[in-house]
Amino acid sequence: MNSLGELERSIMEVLWSTDAWLTVREVVNRLSDRNLAYTTVMTVMNRLVRKEFIRRERDDDGRTWRYRPAAGREAYVAELMLSALSETGDRIAALSHFARSVSPEEAEALRQALPHGEEPL
């Protein structure tokens, strides 16, 4: 995992840790013990916006952007696991399993937890 990837993950963790909308400055302040440049964090956050992992909107003053995650962490974990456990031809080609095991109830729970508005896989 490269350092930009790590930064993406740290930023997501900051955003997941609160229900509030955060500005880039607030995210920079909450990132633990790093001397990260404001612009670096902003660039990575905009990349996450493009990938649709976070959403942004204008602040009340109408000038600064504020951000929050598009979906909770659990939703992404659920998507990842469901896509790994389902077994269609293309998926067999995309992922190789050692073995997979999930009960119907668990699979349903995974489906329920998918990001809002997302088609079941």
């Binding site: 990842l80 389902s86 080609a93 995309a94 190789s96 119907p104 668990e106 699979a107």
Partner: protein
Amino acid sequence: MTYAAHHVLTLLAAVSSMAAMSRSRLTWRTPRTSLLIWQAVGLTLVLSVIGTALAIGLAPYRLGIVPAVVSFGHDLARGDLPTGITAFHLLLTACGIAVTVWIVAVFARSACSVATLRRRQRSLLGLIAHPHPELQEALVVAHPAVAAYCVPGRKAAIVISTGSLDLLTDQELRAVLAHERAHAHERHDLVILPFAALHRAFPASRHVRAMLDAVALLVEMRADDRAAREHDRRTLATALHRFRTCDRIASPPGTLGGAGHDLDARIARLTMPSRTPWPIRVMLLTVALTVASTPLSLFLLPL
């Protein structure tokens, strides 16, 4: 017409070897050779179906299929077809070309959807997975479901859920990772891809599905064998056994079952290994090469 007859014969040969291969447990003894034969059978199947249609359709040219298609194209462009070509010939030629185009299109779409799925997996892993504290190659996802898999590619990722970590001992975990590494190194995804695409092209065909299942199982057995080189076979077998017997059912809704049965076969194979003598290997390999080369030569050489 002899030419078409050859294609029909290869088609019959491919279909019968497909039936034999799906049923034979001998294939489990040498997964790598068996995979090679399956590839040959799959290729033959596709080529001989197309070949039969085109060979009959273009019979009046008395050429190999490729040269005949070229001549046919030229004649069609000039609007001057040979008198021997009837509506029946045109229909079969059109069918042959349509099947070819269809298969190529579905293969491309399948490859794209696999690539999209992997990209999505990778970006999700980037956000939520953590490297295992000791085994750096493994990415850990915090989830109780029992799963261990590999996202293949030039830089493969091996993923394991915390549910699996709870289930396995340290030695078993290492054996499972070796299994996944084998998938990644030998690019088993590329072995499966054409069969998955074929299944996508003909989703209603039970035979194509059976072929995909057989290949998917053989790929797992091959990875088991690779892992068993570095680790004790029994360690791997107990790891599989734990997956099999943990209190979850191995078929989520909307997926095709059979995983439980396949696991039993793999466990049995690991606990009671049997070597195949080399004459049988050589024989199987010869069969594979013959099966594959026949329709290819029919495509290129005029009779």
